[in-house]
Symmetry: C2
Subunit: 340 residues, 2 copies
């Protein structure tokens, strides 16, 4: 494919001015006589001139593009996150590049150090494979905002939510509804930090506060957090014959999968078992029954992340690391008993 693009020089020649003048016209500089401006604009139109962004970036070091690194986009939560980031960034005049990591530490590190970071003004980074030990690797020479629950108190801005408090509130909500044997799906063995670890902590805090015993046989592990994993964990829970009257799933996909598996076995929701999700993904409203869930305040989270990042991009000096916590709430629907 050939791509013969007109340059400033072509325009300048046609308009009978210098390249600089063309540049001034294009960039809305004031110091151009209006007759000159008109001639230049005519030449631009005639040649179909478009400024070459590559060259402009080379010159300015800015691209007006930010990258969003995500584990994947084919999980509702991340799809909604991507959508939100893209449309929020657009409002600030930025284009978003999405880079996928699969949640693998190696690929995450690769995103952090990739030469692509030079053609991007900043990075919003949703880490999953990296862990607290990798915190120092987040010290990078470009604007960076971290999302998620893998690393705290790192050298960069961090936007996340009150996972422990939210999970605790969700569990307390189930307790308030009268559920007494509350199972969990989505735990990660030995994990302390990270969404799974924090949400499990919140769950335990709620049990403790209600003086209810913690029963490890009610804790369902689930590595990835997709529907199929939720379905598998629910089946295992049923097979174990441990009695339970509610399931707190650590995300909505797990919950939707678990609901499917429970219903396959003839379990009635919410009468026999109540189900609580986490994320408030759109699908939850259309499931049968619709899904009660913890809403993690994604709009605020995204808005904060973008604002912090742009502040960093526009700032000359090095800003200290900042942390923002998005607010949460509980979204009551049909998969749990009605409030009494």
């Amino acid at each position: 494919m050939t791509r013969k693009a007109a340059t400033v020089r072509d325009v300048a020649k046609l308009a009978g001015v210098s390249p600089k003048t063309v540049s001034n016209v294009v960039n809305m500089q004031a110091h151009v006589r209006s007759s000159t401006r008109a001639r230049v604009e005519a030449a631009i139109a005639a040649l179909g001139y478009q400024p070459n962004l590559t060259a402009r970036s080379l010159r300015s070091g800015r691209t007006r593009t930010i990258a969003l690194a995500l584990p994947e986009v084919n999980l509702d939560y991340f799809a909604e996150l991507a959508e939100a980031v893209i449309s929020c960034a657009e409002r600030y005049g930025f284009t978003v590049v999405i880079e996928l990591t699969g949640g693998h530490r190696e690929r995450e590190l690769n995103v952090l150090t990739s030469p692509r970071r030079l053609v991007t003004d900043g990075l919003i980074f949703s880490a999953l494979g990296m862990s607290q030990d990798d915190a120092e690797l987040l010290r990078r020479p470009y604007p960076l905002v971290l999302l998620g629950e893998r690393i705290f108190d790192g050298p960069t801005d961090h936007v996340t939510m009150h996972n422990v408090a939210a999970a605790r509130a969700g569990t307390e909500y189930l307790i308030k509804l009268g559920y007494r044997r509350i199972a969990v799906i989505g735990a990660h063995d030995k994990e302390v930090v990270g969404s799974a670890g924090l949400r499990l902590r919140g769950y335990r805090e709620a049990l403790d506060a209600a003086a209810m015993p913690f029963d490890p046989s009610l804790v369902g592990e689930a590595g990835p957090w997709h529907r199929r994993d939720g379905a598998a964990a629910a089946r295992q829970l049923l097979a174990s014959r441990v009695p339970f009257d509610a399931v707190f799933c650590f995300n909505d996909a797990l919950a939707l999968g678990a609901m499917r598996a429970l219903q396959e076995e003839g379990v009635r929701i919410p009468e026999q078992v109540g189900v609580l999700g986490f994320d408030n993904v759109d699908d939850g409203q259309y499931a049968v029954p619709s899904l009660t869930t913890v809403d993690p305040g994604m709009p605020q989270l995204v808005e904060s992340a973008i604002r912090l990042l742009i502040e960093r991009i526009d700032s000359e000096e090095d800003l200290p690391p900042r942390e923002v916590l998005a607010p949460f709430s509980i979204c009551e629907r049909e998969s749990t008993r009605a409030t009494r």
Copy 2:
């Protein structure tokens, strides 16, 4: 934020060679003595040198980045499409930039003419707002592959599926199962081309072939194709009191929404009403009941699109427009009666 990056010259100076030699080392050229190579590599490591991609692009005119323009990413079909494109492109060594259009014609035209096209080697373009009349606007000076059913026989490569045949096959499948009053959800009034128009055509062809009457009161309009629209259309169908024993939804989101609404009204699926979707999105497997659907062969579609695009990127001459049709199949699940 300061960003002091080492350049080829810094490396060259430290290694005691010329910039060109550094370039040779970085780009794996053979003509470098191994001792020199070692010195240069040591210098690169010492300075943490990373090639500046902006400059490289400026020089080569290539960015190894392709853009994927989509209406949105928060609809399972597009999320899965994006995921597939990103991972397929990665296999060919390309990074993907996603640009969202919201399905609005203006924004689609903007994507086509944006100066960003100069920093992208090619574009995979899923049109929704543009129509057949806009075909000529697809004649662009860069590699472009069109996806979707809005424009046919345009001046560019086009990858799509046999919509009419697939919709016909889906409808025939329902007929074979014994359904006789088959409603439709997702029609667009007056649309002839476009997914809605083509799928409606396939539906009518199947009715004709089976000598079954076409009843306009069984056709449910739905502008956007989200769950909520499917739910609304199903409610309207029920409210109209027209008898029907099956619903063919033009995509899975509509079907999932419709199933939700039908079940809210106590309709049993598939005993009283069978439901057929289109897209074979992952969620369909986990719905209750799981969704029978038309599988549009997305992997093949994506692979073809990427291959056509890369061929165009690598080709010196102008290739003629090509059209590829992905194969389809029917995915039988619980939302329709079992085959007799």
